[in-house]
């Protein structure tokens, strides 16, 4: 059994959107924590994509299949519609080729899951109004060392989906592990989308 130090509400939501025994590709999979969770809970056939050496090695050591490559180069090593679900968990905001990676995910996966920190969250807005860039648990970086180059709000992302003919199958917005249904673009910290091509 795999033990988790902390219950991750976002992992539980993702698990609810992934089929039992499904074939899952996790882009920017870090140390393989999400895939390990999905293997344990849903017996998925999982592969991770990770660029960083230390994370790659951590994946190998916990038994996660991991392909070392740079997402900015696209997903040319993966066939069209060859995965049930392709996941991009809290990585979208750090991508340079944002449109390309989403298109590539839709090419490779029958469904995709995209999660990102909602820049429209009221605490971020508060920090901006005080005249500083937001720094928080979700956005822990200073403006000068952040990998986050494409931050967006829930409204921005939904406009993006509309413009790119992407259907939202389901959306969940959470703050501190709790689901937010009222004014999500203001009160939601983490936005989670289950999507497919229209």
């Amino acid at each position: 059994m795999v033990e988790f130090t902390q219950f991750r509400q976002d992992f539980a939501i993702i698990a609810g959107w992934v089929n039992f025994g499904g074939k899952v590709l996790d882009l920017g999979c870090g140390d393989g924590e999400l895939l390990t969770y999905l293997r344990a809970s849903l017996e998925v056939k999982g592969y991770g994509v990770e660029k960083d050496d230390a994370n790659w090695l951590a994946c190998l050591q916990n038994g996660t299949n991991v392909i070392q490559m740079d997402l900015e180069d696209g997903l040319s090593g993966f066939e069209d519609q060859s995965f049930d679900t392709v996941i991009l968990s809290q990585t979208l905001q750090a991508m340079h080729n944002t449109e390309e990676i989403v298109q590539e995910m839709l090419r490779v996966g029958r469904e995709i899951i995209v999660t990102f920190p909602n820049f429209g969250y009221w605490r971020n807005r508060m920090q901006i109004t005080t005249g500083t860039m937001p720094v928080s648990k979700t956005l822990p970086y200073q403006w000068f060392d952040t990998p986050n180059v494409h931050l967006c709000t829930i409204n921005d992302f939904e406009q993006f989906c509309k413009n790119h003919k992407i259907d939202v199958i389901e959306r969940k917005v959470i703050t501190d592990g709790n689901e937010v249904n009222f004014m999500p673009n203001l009160l939601g910290n983490l936005a989670m989308y289950r999507l497919k091509s229209s």
């Binding site: 074939k23 056939k45 592969y47 050496d53 790659w56 090695l57 994946c59 190998l60 050591q61 038994g63 299949n65 991991v66 392909i67 070392q68 490559m69 090593g77 993966f78 066939e79 060859s82």
Partner: protein, 380 residues
């Protein structure tokens, strides 16, 4: 002196096979010898064997020394030993010399089996030794495993041409391989890569002392050709940056306006060429490069590697090196894609390395952590 985690003093063994081996070319080797070494102990279940396949100029002496006074240990000694990434406390490791080789297995320089005519003197095969392929090697390696009573490999590992053999094992004997570690390899050679082999062979074959491959009878060695072939090889095994860092434009002394050895790089290449020409067989070099050229498992499937791998069952680790331009990461990614297409279990690492193709033999910490991490998960 032996290091603490060396496999220690080793001895080579020879297995003789009297059952004929039909080669891919259709030719038949009526009988043959395979020389090999083993490290570690075969467990009772015979489930802990790792086969190490060698590259172009390698052989069966993979780890350890023949005598404490030996200057050099086996060619992959940094990887293999107690508590090393390929841990001989856990695994029973086999290294062998491929057919066509020049280190004890049947090859062009070994004596032809005695004919029935008593008047005939013992003669080396020379040019008459058949062309052998990666497929033939894997078949002969399987014979060696049968001889040792080993049904299944815990893993097969190889770099470069050795990686091609590891891949071929999973295709030819899907039930006999649990894991394959394919390092700095390719699913076939590009035209440019084959072109280097052609230049190397031409250097050997146009050497006046080559005598169409029967130089043994003339008591000569096509040393000049072999030397140039090896010099060319060494250029392609290193990256531009690695050569730059190692030699740059350093002079041995000062510019003399001559064609003598003036640059450090020339000194290195000549040294490597001379050393190799003194210890390697030219006919073997021709055959090893040809085996590289011919290997193309997708050929019978209209170039579709995914189809070629459709019956494969093994789990894979594929590793490439960023500065390797002779077996570039793109080529390894082709293997990975074909494995993914077949929904096989695979991890792929692209190691940031300066050393070019040679990196697969270097004890880089991250690279060795990758191999250690993977092999530690291999169940025996």
């Amino acid at each position: 002196m032996l290091e603490n985690n060396s496999v220690g003093i080793v001895t080579a063994q020879t297995a003789h096979f009297s059952e004929p081996l039909t080669l891919q070319s259709g030719e038949v080797l009526p009988q043959f010898d395979v020389v090999f070494e083993t490290y570690g102990t075969l467990n009772a279940a015979k489930s802990n064997t790792v086969l190490v396949c060698h590259a172009l100029s390698g052989n069966h002496h993979v780890a350890g020394k023949y005598a404490e006074t030996d200057k050099n240990a086996g060619w992959w000694d940094n990887l293999i030993g107690p508590n090393k990434p390929l841990d001989t406390n856990k695994f029973f490791v086999i290294g062998l010399n491929n057919l066509g080789g020049c280190h004890g297995s049947s090859g062009p320089s070994s004596l032809k089996p005695k004919s029935s005519h008593k008047s005939e003197k013992d003669q080396p095969y020379g040019a008459s030794f058949p062309i052998v392929t990666v497929e033939d090697w894997v078949n002969s390696q399987a014979r060696l495993l049968n001889h040792l009573g080993i049904t299944q490999l815990a893993a097969v590992i190889g770099g470069s041409l050795g990686g091609m053999q590891a891949l071929q094992w999973t295709i030819a004997f899907p039930e006999r391989v649990k894991h394959a570690l394919i390092i700095a390899a390719a699913p076939n050679l590009t035209a440019q890569n084959m072109a280097f082999n052609e230049v190397a062979r031409q250097a050997i074959m146009t050497d006046p002392e080559f005598y169409d491959g029967d130089y043994y009878a003339h008591k000569t060695v096509p040393r000049r050709g072999l030397r140039i072939a090896r010099m060319l090889g060494h250029i392609t095994y290193l990256s531009d940056n690695a050569m730059g860092e190692k030699f740059g434009r350093k002079l041995k002394d000062k510019i003399k306006y001559s064609f003598d050895v003036e640059f450090e790089m020339e000194s290195y290449l000549r040294y490597q060429g001379d050393k190799f020409a003194g210890e390697f067989d030219a006919n073997t070099y021709l055959r090893m490069t040809r085996a590289l050229d011919y290997y193309d498992p997708a050929l019978g499937y209209g170039g579709d590697l995914s189809q070629a791998l459709k019956n494969v069952k093994a789990k894979f680790l594929v590793v490439s090196f960023t500065s390797d331009w002779r077996f570039s990461p793109e080529r390894s990614r082709e293997i990975v894609k074909a494995l993914l297409d077949n929904e096989l279990t695979v991890s792929y690492a692209e190691v940031t390395a300066l050393h070019g193709h040679d990196a697969f033999l270097m004890p880089d910490t991250h690279y060795h952590n990758i191999l250690r991490g993977y092999l530690s998960k291999v169940e025996v």
